[in-house]
Amino acid sequence: MREMIVSELSQALHELARGFAHYLPRLIVMLILAFVGWLIAYAVKVVVRSILRLIKFDKFSENTGASQLLSKAALPTAAEVLSRFVFWVTWLGFILLGVSVLGILGLQEQVGRFFIFLPRLFVAMFILFFGLLAASFFSRAALLAAVNANMRSARIVSMAVRTVIVVFVFSVVFEELGIAEQTMLVAFGIAFGALMLGLAIAFGIGGRNLAQRFLEERFVRGRKEENEDELSPL
């Protein structure tokens, strides 16, 4: 009896030692990958940050309105956020690579999914950035056009343009990421439809005179000349 217990115990210890000996190199490989990954990720972060500073990315993001969003969320500059993001994605990639070396069943599948997801994440970020840029550009263009056309509600027009574009951009981003696709689609449809209906009603009721004046000035010959009291600038 005693011999049997000793034998089982020693066998268990042997298996544990064999198992540990089997996993130890993999664990070391994982740790090495994590360490090397950290070094590479840090180097990539430094390079990305330098490039972004060189191309004045912060000013660019300021123009898109992204900087204001980050500032409100108490986050660092856009260049810093992007370089940190690249750092974490790179390091996480190496860590997951190391984890996959361990050969734990189920985890490998998740690692594979992560690497498949990465391109979509980058595309989504690309869409978000240029979408915000477009929103900023077109809302400012609308603001300037409305001010120079002497419209009273220039800022509202500008905000409406920005809102529509931002909502559209976010719906595309979520769709790209595969997050709540149906919900986002429906939400966008409802929000966009409500906005258009609201604008149509507001313009129809509130802007009736404005529309009349605009159409008269645009199409009725002589009307502009009658009202012409501005001087030729050139």
Binding site: K59, L143, V147, D229, L231, P233
Partner: protein
């Protein structure tokens, strides 16, 4: 080089000209005087302009070989037909003049829409192919064009060796406020030349500067906006011999750039753009010099006209309030604060001082150079501020005589020159 071989050589370069137009040019041969007429739906006024051109050529250049080149932007009212259909003999009975040579009229449609750039490029190419000694460009919109204008613009080139003849006009004291409050004083401060009408609807030029400008880079980038001003600035930069010639009354109905924002795009945008490339030139210039002028360098009319100052001031105040976020990116905080203070003033107290106006313009120019936002947006954002400055100019000169108006314009010019170091500072330091 023979005429034919010269034309063949140039054919390779001038691919934007149509085959038919090239054939017509080859038929004309070499000319002494070329009159360019850029048009787009100008049937109402172009007849009188062509009449004046023909009489002007008969009177002043009867022995010279001359041609009228119409570069049309795709008129639908038969403008090109009116020009080519008119014969030199139409001008004879009225003027009792006799032509010694055939006066050709050629019309072509340029390819890139209605932009002035396409028209000028076509005219320049034709001038080069025909080896014209003196070229002039006439506005098709001015119903008050006189035959003497041809001689005034072409003779200094043809007989006295000038490279560019800029016009001066008799204007109402409140006409051309963008010219008197921005373009003239700023170009004078930058380049040191007192050129009264830097944006020229009519002008004369030599084949030398025409070829230089035609051969310059950037035609593909230019959408045609402000090509006339670019031409002037290129001539100044190239050290060309420039003079001014008094033409006469400028037509009030001439409104090719009557709306403020297009006018800013045609003038201020190209000026700011040229400043970037011309920095080595203008940064070394101090003070300004007058240029030779044939006739008066300006004449002002003082008859009363109705101007809605209140509306202009309101548009200024609204613009300052609504565009605050845009101005934050363009202007310094002190200038913006001062503008916001002005925007709160009532009609009686409102005054946009010259110093603040000049600083505003210089900060806009620096912001344009740094592209703090889209460049066209920067130019558009200037419109409400210009209206504010226009109100002050109107108030200051409400009951002023011609000489008093001139004194005020001169004071503004001096202010632009005095504050040029501020521009340099903004230009260099702005991040």
């Amino acid at each position: 080089m023979s005429r034919a071989s010269h034309a063949e050589l140039k054919l390779e370069d001038e691919t934007f000209l149509t085959d038919d137009f090239l054939r017509q040019l080859i038929n004309v041969g070499e000319v002494d005087i070329l009159v360019g007429l850029p048009t787009h739906n100008n049937a109402k006024t172009v007849g009188s302009v062509v009449d004046a051109i023909r009489i002007g050529i008969l009177r002043s250049f009867p022995r010279e070989r001359a041609v009228i080149i119409n570069a049309d932007g795709g008129s639908r009212d038969g403008t090109p037909g009116l020009i080519t259909g008119m014969s030199i003999y139409d001008a004879r009975p009225a003027s009792n003049l006799h032509a010694l040579r055939t006066l050709h009229s050629i019309s072509t449609t340029y390819s890139n829409g209605t932009s002035g750039g396409g028209a000028l490029r076509t005219i320049l190419a034709a001038a080069e192919l025909l080896r014209a000694k003196a070229c002039i460009v006439m506005s098709p919109e001015s119903a008050k064009t006189q035959p003497e204008w041809i001689s005034n613009l072409a003779a200094p080139i043809y007989r006295e060796g000038f490279d560019l003849v800029a016009p001066t006009y008799r204007r109402h004291k409140f006409d051309g406020l963008l010219m008197t409050n921005l373009l003239y004083p700023m170009i004078r401060a930058l380049y040191g030349l007192r050129l009264r009408e830097p944006y020229m609807p009519e002008f004369g030029f030599s084949s030398r500067i025409g070829s230089q400008f035609l051969g310059g880079n950037g035609w593909s980038d230019r959408n045609g906006t402000g090509t006339e001003l670019r031409f002037t600035l290129a001539a100044i930069k190239g050290g060309s011999r420039i003079c001014q010639a008094f033409l006469g009354e400028k037509d009030h109905t001439e409104r090719r750039a009557a709306d403020l924002v297009p006018a800013l795009r045609q003038t201020v945008g190209p000026l700011f753009s040229a400043m970037e490339a011309d920095f080595p030139v203008w940064s070394t210039v101090t003070g300004s010099n007058s240029i030779p002028t044939i006739g008066s360098d300006h004449e002002l009319m003082l008859d009363p006209i109705r101007v809605n100052r209140k509306r202009l001031r309101e548009m200024f105040a609204t613009g300052v309030a609504e565009l605050e976020s845009v101005f934050h990116l363009i202007l310094s905080s002190s200038t913006l604060a001062e503008l916001q203070r002005l925007a709160r003033l009532d009609d009686e107290a409102f005054h946009y001082p010259a110093e603040l106006w000049v600083k505003t313009i210089y900060e806009f120019a620096a912001a344009y150079q740094k592209s703090v936002i889209n460049r066209d947006h920067i130019v558009q954002a200037l419109a409400p501020l210009f209206r504010g400055r226009a109100v002050t100019f109107l108030i200051e000169n409400r009951s002023a005589s011609a000489s008093e108006v001139e004194v005020n314009i001169e004071a503004l010019c001096v202010e632009f020159e005095r504050l040029k170091p501020y521009l340099m500072q903004m230009w260099k330091s702005r991040e």
